[in-house]
Amino acid sequence: MADTSQHAMEHGGESRRDFLKILTVASGAVGAGAVIWPFIDALGPDANGTAAAHLIVNVAGIPENSAITVTWNGLPIYIRKLTAQQIADTKAVVTSTLVDPASFNSRVKPGYDSFVVVVGLNTGSPCALEGNAPADPRGPFDGWLSPCDGSVYDPLGRVRGGPSTKNLVIPRFKFINDAQIQFG
């Protein structure tokens, strides 16, 4: 590159060859990127997959003291509307006495105290929980009961008895308005 730099110095700046080199490499890089991008893009989720991963559920119609089941990412999700009594009862529990301590506020979204959203699978031996309908067996804490190993959960999904030692998992979700929640 000795002659190039000499040439460049003579003209007091970048030579024509340097400019062409930069131009060629730059357009080559853009071209290579444009060819590679579709390969990356094509293996990502399509619009249907993205929509399913960001499921929107209407929660306005859920009656108090009962829960609905939706499937999201292959998991049964329980969305439960608490009664005023259940809210008061679960708030009154001293958190440190629990098997897996979790405060009331950590189990609900701020401003939406009455909605509990959990993955409806027992955290010990995986098994769909009972207790969504008011008539279902719910255990002594008016929450959920595992028909497989007898683990007991309260209405916030905190484990209160039985072999299981972990609270129910809370999926990723947010309230997009008062009536709808969006997962993912």
Binding site: G31, W37, F39, A42, G44, D46, N48
Partner: protein
């Protein structure tokens, strides 16, 4: 640990092939034409086909081949583009291979010591024809479905060893599972194409080392720069075809879904399979068609021995003229099966097939021997 020590540590445990001579030392003849870069372009196109084929294989469903291709084109992100890479990539790859073979025939590059390179090129062509047909069958359109059904019925109906191979390959008549196995064969043979390209590269390198150049230059930067320039033109043609003529040379009826009760009016294959398809259609029996295709490739492979001229002999005008006729003959073969509305096309196919074999088996030895005198 210094770099040298690390290098020898690795070199003793993973002894990679010695650095190719010719990349930095001046061993190559100056002034090779741009068309001499065709093998590099073919390798590039093959790699693009492999990469796009991997993505297509993720979404392709052999139980619903046609519908899954529609899904790829419509629902998969950039799926239309990946499919375009694959379709147009096949067209560009075959165009480059046809050009390479014809250029070799014209230049008589197959003469000693280039016989092995020539044989590997014919082998590459034969493999690509098979892979190309399998890919065409996987498209599962109305025309491809009938091509596959006819082939499977013919192959499974054969007797003897041919029938055993046919039944093994197709697993019975075209039905559930046929496309699944063809998908696997398509992918495995595509990897075999890469193997053939690798062997071809070794052979061409060895050939280049044997030649004693008068004005030697090093591969880099002289021929890397030329390769990049050739690649740019290749990519430009590729892009124009893909974006402005994505179905160039393909039967439009194949864009419709297959129906087992409706045979399309025009059953022509993609352009790159057409000359071979024409020779196969001349014969009335299945074994005859198979023989015809094998003979078509065999006379190509035998060319170094059919050419009776000495390596340093004169290149006469008559033989050059015959080259032009051969080119027209192969184009005519392809054309004659793509237009059945023409009533004389069947007769023309027979004529072009006879001329093809006449050229290689009679004219080539005769004319080259006469001109060498």
């Amino acid at each position: 640990m210094s770099t040298d020590v690390k290098k020898s540590w690795q070199a003793t445990r993973l002894p990679c092939p010695a650095k190719e001579t010719g990349s930095c030392t001046p061993t190559l003849e100056r002034g090779a034409p741009y068309l001499a870069r065709l093998p590099a372009l073919i390798t590039g196109a093959a790699l693009l086909l492999l990469a796009s084929g991997f993505v297509l294989a993720v979404y392709y469903n052999p139980d619903h081949g046609f519908a899954s291709i529609q899904f790829i084109a419509r629902n998969v992100n950039s799926g239309w583009l990946i499919q375009g890479f694959h379709t147009t990539g096949a067209t560009m790859l075959f165009a480059a291979v046809y050009l390479l073979l014809f250029r070799d025939i014209y230049r008589r590059a197959y003469t000693a010591p280039g016989e092995l390179v020539w044989l590997l090129r014919v082998k590459l062509f034969a493999l690509l024809l098979l892979v190309g047909w399998l890919g065409y069958a996987l498209s599962d359109g109305a025309v491809a479905y009938w091509s596959l059904t006819d082939a499977a019925n013919a192959a499974t109906g054969l007797g003897g060893v041919a029938g055993v191979i046919g039944r093994w390959f197709f697993g019975g008549p075209n039905g559930a599972g046929t496309l699944a196995r063809l998908e696997v064969f398509h992918a495995v043979l595509a990897l075999a194409v890469l193997g053939a390209l690798g062997a071809h590269r070794c052979a061409t390198r060895a050939l280049a080392r044997q030649a004693k150049p008068k004005h030697p230059v090093s591969c880099h930067p002289y021929y890397t720069a030329q390769t990049f320039a050739a690649f740019t033109v290749f990519a430009l043609i590729f892009a124009v075809l893909m974006f402005f003529a994505p179905h160039y040379g393909l039967n439009p009826l194949n864009r419709a879904a297959a129906d087992s009760l409706i045979i399309p009016a025009v059953l022509s294959p993609p352009w790159y399979l057409a000359p071979v398809s024409a020779v196969a259609s001349v014969f009335s029996t299945t074994l005859g068609s198979i023989f015809g295709v094998i003979a078509m490739l065999a006379v190509l492979a035998a060319l170094p021995w059919l050419d009776r001229s000495s390596p340093t002999g004169k290149r006469g005008l008559v033989y050059r003229l015959l080259m032009g006729l051969l080119l027209l003959d192969v184009i005519g073969l392809g054309w004659s099966v793509s237009d059945p509305a023409c009533t004389i096309s069947g007769g023309l196919t027979v004529f072009f097939t006879i001329w093809y074999f006449f050229h290689f088996l009679v004219l080539t030895p005769l004319v080259t021997a006469l001109e060498a005198k």
